[in-house]
Amino acid sequence: MNHFLTTEGVSREDLTALLDDADTFVEVLERPIPKVPALRGKTVATMFFEPSTRTKLSFEKAAKALSADTMSFSPGTSSLSKGESLKDTVLTVEAMGTDAMVVRHKATGAPWRIAEWVDQPVLNAGDGAHQHPTQALLDALTIRQRFGTLDRLRIGIVGDIRHSRVARSDVFAFSTLGADVTMVAPRTLLPINDDGWPAAATENLDEVLSELDVVYLLRVQAERGGASVFPSLSEYTTRYGMTRERFSRLKPDTVVLHPGPMNRGVEIAAEVADDERSLILKQVANGVAVRMAVLFRLMGGEHDE
């Protein structure tokens, strides 16, 4: 049984194969009828125990573009609030006849537990601050479309890395694909212990800015972590925001990415967000293609013996 839970430890070959598949799906999505029958008759359950709009919609679109049916679960009005355990909830959904589960949960490792309980592929759509592997894939695809490869690209990830599952997935995926990754953040937002992280770290954005080929901006998170992690938003913008001024100091081919949703005016200036070198909307489009690739590979067909 195969699952897609993390980018940590995934080989360069496997990542590249998924990106190549995603290219095919990018083309499919550009057709007049952007739909193929590959997963006809299969059902994908999206189980989002943590709120999400964009990722959930993206997965649902991906499933539907493969002609699969979708079943959507969200907490609040569900039996979870009646005290049903997570295990019983997923077993019940599985018993209704699903063929794969896409899971987002605030507890680290929850998708791994679920993969132990059910007998079908599980995709991690985000667990705690740990991993969000399809985000890393769509980010890598977007960068590859622009530069042809990630080999030897200098990528700077800027923002709250300590609490970011996007950052963790990106660090491993980008470096496995050959990029040179630097994490940029104040000390309170860098990893507490970066032993074994395939990335450099610095607190000074301005020092590395003009060497970067890709600037990856993370959202300043108020909703995770609770306690305030930075003295004030305006201080953050002054030291780490992609202002117009910083943007002008980038190399002419350098691009800006952001996982969304953006805080315009905080980590990214509005004009930068709308600039041609900001690939944010491309990321979103690629997200559907990448999720189609992962769903197709997990659900469609036997795997190599």
Binding site: K87, T108, W112, A129, H163, R168, I192
Partner: protein
Amino acid sequence: MSDLVLSGGRIVTQEGVLEGDVRIADGSIVEIGTGLEGETLVECDGAWVGPGFVDLHTHLREPGQEWKEDIESGSAAAAAGGYTAIVAMPNTEPATDAGHLARFVADRGRAVGLVDVVPSGAVSMGRLGEQLAHLDELWDAGVRVFTDDGDAVADAALLRQAMDYLATRGGVIAQHAVDPDLATGGHMHEGAVSSRLGMSAIPSQAEDTMIARDLQLAALTGARYHVQHVSTAGAVQMIAAAKDGGINVTAEVTPHHLAFDDTAVAGTDPSYKMMPPLRSSDDREALRRGLADGTIDAVATDHAPHAAHEKDVPYEDAPNGIIGLEWAAAVVNTVAPLDPVAFYSRLSVKPADIAGLADHGRWVAVGNPGHLTVFDPDHRWVPERTASRSINTPYLGMPLTGRVSATIHAGSITARDGAPNFSMLST
């Protein structure tokens, strides 16, 4: 009672290890020699024969949470693990903060009859950390170990008050040293592994700052102070220095802190979720050295039963703790082996001394009570079952070296080869 001979063992006495037989009759050791005969014979085949183990730290969950464990199933697990006395933690429902509740636990243990169940008492009412529990009542009911285990006694003034009270009487304050403010929201050790997982974590300082403070208060009051489940290298260092400085401090370590480090949590398996958490390999190394050199006086299991459905959840949602009475000695022998004298010292003699149990933890000698444990240090096996009501443990299926061959409580065999003697249970 009939007499019982433990034959062909390596007997751990005050004077050293000698090969021979031990005869027990009427609940006491009556003879040590060779070629002894008796009505019941246990062949030891060179296994160690020493005083019955004493656990300073067991959660029996009765009263209030009997679906996880009760005094009967906990006693059976203890007997199987070589224990002849266990100190029951007071975080039951209700908490053991009054005399009649302590008596209930002791009476129940006596009724089951497999092991001496010694209740500990809470330091604060309801273990809420606000005002002192009925310490006098508890003392009169026989309680000598006071702890709010499950929680720390965080309020320094309250702790000092309790220490002042006990300093003159002679009981011991056992501290679950986890600073609640530094540990809030944390689920594992703060280090490289927690950083990769992005999980909120607990730094070693949550333990070290509290122990440092407590040692000062122990010095101030002259009270006996015992550190439960030590988990950090810093704590071991402080305890060693405090002992050198004449402070009346003792310490225990769990088998799981000796066996595992935080890399065991990388797979987010709740079987490795405990409090304090499994820490770095450097910390584990320091704990093993501390146990070997005696800085850490005792092995204590922190046997913590939880029902299967409670642990079968994502890691962050799982309760802390594993069961371990049945395999504690085996695990210690596997990961941090000791010579037989040190072995029985840590598992029996010192814990009995700390808990104030005069009948237990006595080197084998004629006239001593018949509480003995036979331990075969070379036997290789894989645990496959448990007498506990719960199964939350990583030890099932884990290869171990060393096993309790027989447990003798008051002259009767309460367990053989890892299986409790259920016919022993009083009805």
